[in-house]
Symmetry: C2
Subunit: 282 residues, 2 copies
Amino acid sequence: METRELRYFVTVAEELHFGRAAQRLGIAQPPLSRAVQQLERRLGAALLDRTSRTVTLTEAGAVLLAEGRAALDAVAAAERRTRRAAASTTGRPALVLVTKAGASNELLAKLLAAYAAEPGAVPVDVILSGPAEQARLLREGRADVALLHRPFDPTDGFDTEELGTEGQIAVLPAGHPLTARAEVRLADLAALPGLPLPRWPDPDGGYPPGPGPKVRDHAQLLQLVALGRACALSPESCRTNLHDGLAAVPVTDAPPVTTVIAWPPHSRSRAVADLVRTATRL
Amino acid sequence: METRELRYFVTVAEELHFGRAAQRLGIAQPPLSRAVQQLERRLGAALLDRTSRTVTLTEAGAVLLAEGRAALDAVAAAERRTRRAAASTTGRPALVLVTKAGASNELLAKLLAAYAAEPGAVPVDVILSGPAEQARLLREGRADVALLHRPFDPTDGFDTEELGTEGQIAVLPAGHPLTARAEVRLADLAALPGLPLPRWPDPDGGYPPGPGPKVRDHAQLLQLVALGRACALSPESCRTNLHDGLAAVPVTDAPPVTTVIAWPPHSRSRAVADLVRTATRL
DNA sequence: GGCATCGATACCCTCCGGGTATGAATCCGG
DNA sequence: CCGGATTCATACCCGGAGGGTATCGATGCC
């Protein structure tokens, strides 16, 4: 199976429309139809049920959509990492670390400092992303390591090492009645009128239904809290970057958050290995 | 990047010889040289250093070899799983579980029985493989789930759930002096004259250097022990399938073995999810 | 220094992937 | 119930990418 065929099929499966898919791919519709037919013949499996009006995925098609995306990601990652490896021999090599904006700042600072002191350390670029993008960045080879927070972030398919566990705090607008309490419970937060928990994007970029404002990163979130439009549940370490207008209260019954360092398997990079080793020694 | 190019490059990188690689690929040497050159141009990176006598990998080439293998595995897995999904709608669907021959037999039997009793259970094919092949079978889509034993088997890139932990026993020829002891230590085993620990194959099929006979599965291993040519370190649960000529002694300072159930990420199969859930409830 | 080995180059040819034009089926509005 | 719009499939053509053979150039070895 060639990646071109896979790309074609995945696009059609996403659009469920040959015309639009062809447009997205920058080719005409007939060759696209043919390519998908050919793929089906070679696989000996129907991937799409088509009438002249509608296209739907078969069981096998759904499998190939999920698996094919993963495979295309792997190919893209191979390409990107190779390019980076090549660039790193000519210029200065750089390691890309991705973490959620506003989370684990202290840990990150300590890690970067400790790693920089290692012999053979390499410049580290830090990307601050929203939580949904981290996995994608790692999978696509745009990043080498990530700091993730279990159980919130998916660690599917990565190698991980635990770095530490912490409790969670409720972040509230300063002056809110609950901020007078020494500690609160999850039920207290759920019952807050007018202060819903925000919604985070899915891995595919959409948002789950429900009340609560949509947020993409921690800064947005804190701003919304300060504005009195939401409340938030965050790891304790966020306390250090709460500014005016925000207050925090420990939540006793929230699940603890584990910070893990994650990297793609098959990574043969000494820099990644060094960074991970440094991290586990903190 | 097309999978054909990747396959070509990976083959050359493995052989470090264009002629042999071309032969393995079933094409002539000149098109292969061209294809690799073209890939290098497109990536803007030298992958191989070639003199007219020898070929060696560059830094970037080593990266692409590792990443490219993973990507090719992912593509192959997508293809195989799609074929299986298609076959499963026409015939009876089957789940393929792979485990090491001769390990965790009780656990496996309990798991299969419990799963079969679930509503919506599907026939399960069991593959007994040598340890080195399990990861490959999962990665290539030939199997859906595996029972692995940490810390011996790599769990890189899979999702896992722990099923249980057990100690290890030394398996010795019946009548060996040590079998009189109630327990032994690792150092006792290392010092045994004429009874080396066997060597297991690497993921790539080769064997590490050293003394000790080469083995591919547990049955071979036990036979060698019975013949007095080796001793072995095995999880306790193996005790149930020791036959005549073999004796077991607990090893007090051996690292405990954790049995985990592992499956590829992105698995959208209900059957896999059911089986895993059943397993964690045992 | 001649020879063998091995990758690169030159050149040719086939077939595959892409384009345009059009057909066939289905849905919809009148 | 009929014509037009929509959408996927088919028919046909063309250019170029990919594969083959012949050969060159470089390098190590006896």
